[in-house]
């Protein structure tokens, strides 16, 4: 039973800490963060912009900027990969893939789509260009790009933003990876295009039976695609659980605040939306205690002196908060309004 569980774990991240050295001092983008991803799981990673979502996964894949340094441990199927240049080169784009927010600039403007797609297969699988091209056309069909056979030979500037993101998805999935990390893949796109892209990812996930990490600051996106959710604040994971648990019984005041500040279709009272007071933490100078304590309505003395650890309090539910009475967080906010 336990053995089986372990075999199922795709990515095992332990005590990951990422710091950037800048002229103004060190930026603590990710702080002592641990989590796991199981095969086939869909994990939503949410948090305000600047909370370290992107850098967390950049660290895992070894894509940090030169001034960044990642410490801790990341195991892919039991094998250590953090900062392992050679190993990462082999599994990036093959077993672990990532797509980015900026679909307009993520493709090389000087290289034909066909070459950008085929080289992934040719590098990782060593197959011929013609075989790779056939597969590339297949993938473009799968992401619903019309007339893929002819358009594969075009340059990126001949595609719209949404189409480019489809090409990115096709490119990242062409080796049928175990895990796709989608970093705000729809943020830069029109609402209608957003929905299409999310559908495509959802369908391909089922078809290829892969795990997906959906990074977003949009809880709507999480509700739509994710099974499990990890909420990040100040480079830490502050809460984890299933989508339903997170949405209906948030156990952290920050999560509750996020939910309350989300516009709801089923709420026709014309109440102004809730906003979390204060501003995001300064990563160059994090508070000694809980990073959220300066903004927290429930702050206690303990919160200002020590960092609450992320603890399991229910089956697969985790929270990092000293507050004992978290059951009515949402109601309290609504009543306060």
């Amino acid at each position: 039973m336990n053995e089986n569980e372990n075999n199922n774990i795709l990515l095992d991240v332990k005590n990951l800490t990422t710091t950037f050295s800048t002229q103004e001092g060190n930026v603590a983008a990710v702080n002592d963060l641990s989590f796991q991803i199981k095969a086939g799981e869909t994990l939503g990673v949410v948090g305000e912009s600047g909370s370290g979502k992107s850098q967390l996964f950049m660290s895992i894949l070894g894509l940090l900027a030169n001034n960044g340094k990642a410490e801790g441990s990341v195991k892919y199927k039991g094998k250590e990969i953090l900062n392992q240049k050679k190993t990462l080169e082999e599994i990036r784009g093959d077993r672990l893939s990532m797509i980015f927010q900026d679909s307009m600039t993520s493709l090389n403007p000087f290289v034909k789509i066909s070459d950008q797609l085929t080289e992934v297969l040719m590098v990782h699988r060593g197959i011929s260009y013609n075989d790779a091209l056939n597969e590339a056309i297949n993938m473009l069909d799968m992401v619903s790009i019309p007339r893929a056979k002819t358009r594969v030979h075009r340059y990126p500037h001949e595609f719209s933003g949404g189409m480019r993101q489809r090409v990115m998805i096709a490119m990242s999935l062409i080796c049928k990876p175990d895990l796709l990390i989608a970093d705000e893949p729809t943020t830069a796109l029109d609402v209608t295009v957003q929905a299409q892209i999310l559908d495509i990812i959802d369908n391909l996930k089922k078809e290829l039976n892969m795990a997906v990490v959906m990074i977003t600051h949009d809880l709507g996106v999480v509700a739509r695609v994710a099974e499990n959710v990890m909420v990040m604040y100040g480079g830490r994971a502050i809460e984890k659980g299933t989508v339903d648990e997170i949405f209906y019984t948030p156990s952290h005041p920050y999560t509750a605040g996020l939910l309350a500040s989300m516009p709801r279709l089923d709420d026709d009272s014309n109440k102004a939306l809730y906003t979390i007071q204060g501003s995001p933490p300064n990563l160059q100078n994090l508070p000694v205690g809980c990073a959220f304590s300066p903004r927290c309505e429930y702050v206690m003395d303990q919160c200002k002196t020590s960092v609450p650890p992320l603890e399991c309090f229910d089956v697969n539910r985790h929270r990092a908060c000293f507050l004992d009475n978290y059951q009515d967080l949402i109601e309290n906010i609504n009543r306060g309004q």
Binding site: L63, A65, G93, F100, N108, F110, V111, V120, V123, H124
Partner: protein, 361 residues
Amino acid sequence: MSNSSHGLRDLSILNIISSILGNYFIRKILVGLVTIWVVITVTFFIMRLAPGGPFTGERQLDPAVLANLRHSYGLDLPLWKQYAMYMLNLLHGDLGPSLKDTTFTVKELLGIGLPNSILLGLLALANALIFGVSIGTLAALHHNGWQDYTVMFIAIVGIICPSFVLAPLLTLVFGVNWGILPVAGFGSHSPEHWLYFFSPEYQHGSHWWSFMIPTIPKESILWAFDKHLILPVISLSLPVIAMLARLTRGSMIEVMNANYIRTARAKGLSERRIIVKHALKGALLPVVSVLGPLIAGITTGSVVIEKIYNISGVGRYFVDGALNRDYTLVLGTVVLYSALLISLNTIVDITYGYIDPRIKK
């Protein structure tokens, strides 16, 4: 009725003309020809504004002899007539006799000088491109490392030190102090090789464009490796290397931070492949776009360098011709230079469109 159909035909002719003018290449060529004409005209009259003439020298010539000389070269005609005659001859490809070096026509002199100048220019350009781009790339890939600082130091020295300062310095060190490299005389020892191109046996049965095919006479194969060229090529290319290194470094740093390079990394490509297949093309675009001005820079630079190192090239003929008031020789070099630069610029424009798919129509 007939009037309107007439008007229509006019319109269609206009359409044809405008569609011909609309053609990119034809427009380029027309603009180029007009530019050459303007340059020649301006040069023609400016030369005549300069005091003195081709026959003023240390020793005063006998007035009768002088009048005779001037008459035989048509210099006694009104200026507009001389201009018209020159342009007419030019249309027939006749650049006239050299007024000073009476054993050669201007065309023959340029025939001797051009290969030397082209060789010097090409070597300097190749040198500049190879070293400039590679040390610029090296610096960018080791951004803020010691390699970067070394390259930037060289670049700054190269930029504040133009070739007319560099050339005498190099001459002093390598030629005079250490005595390891010749300081003058490339090409002047064997001009006969180049006369070969104008000899009857060469021209017989060959096309007018044969001179463009590199049929270098066998005995001068070693010509390109002449050590007389080392100092001139270094002096001419070092400032360009500096400029290119800075340019390449800047654009390479920018490209390596671009999102599409991050994508290439996320695809699991090797660093080598990322640089060669994904970064270089974008990083070299600025280099291609300065290639036109750069070639012009090397060309004008070679005028000075050829003079300093006493190389029988077009540049030296230009300087000597200007100093001697050898009107026809100066005009000939100007025709050659402007035709060369304008066609090279056009080629660069076209290349740019080819490299960057976003501006291809």
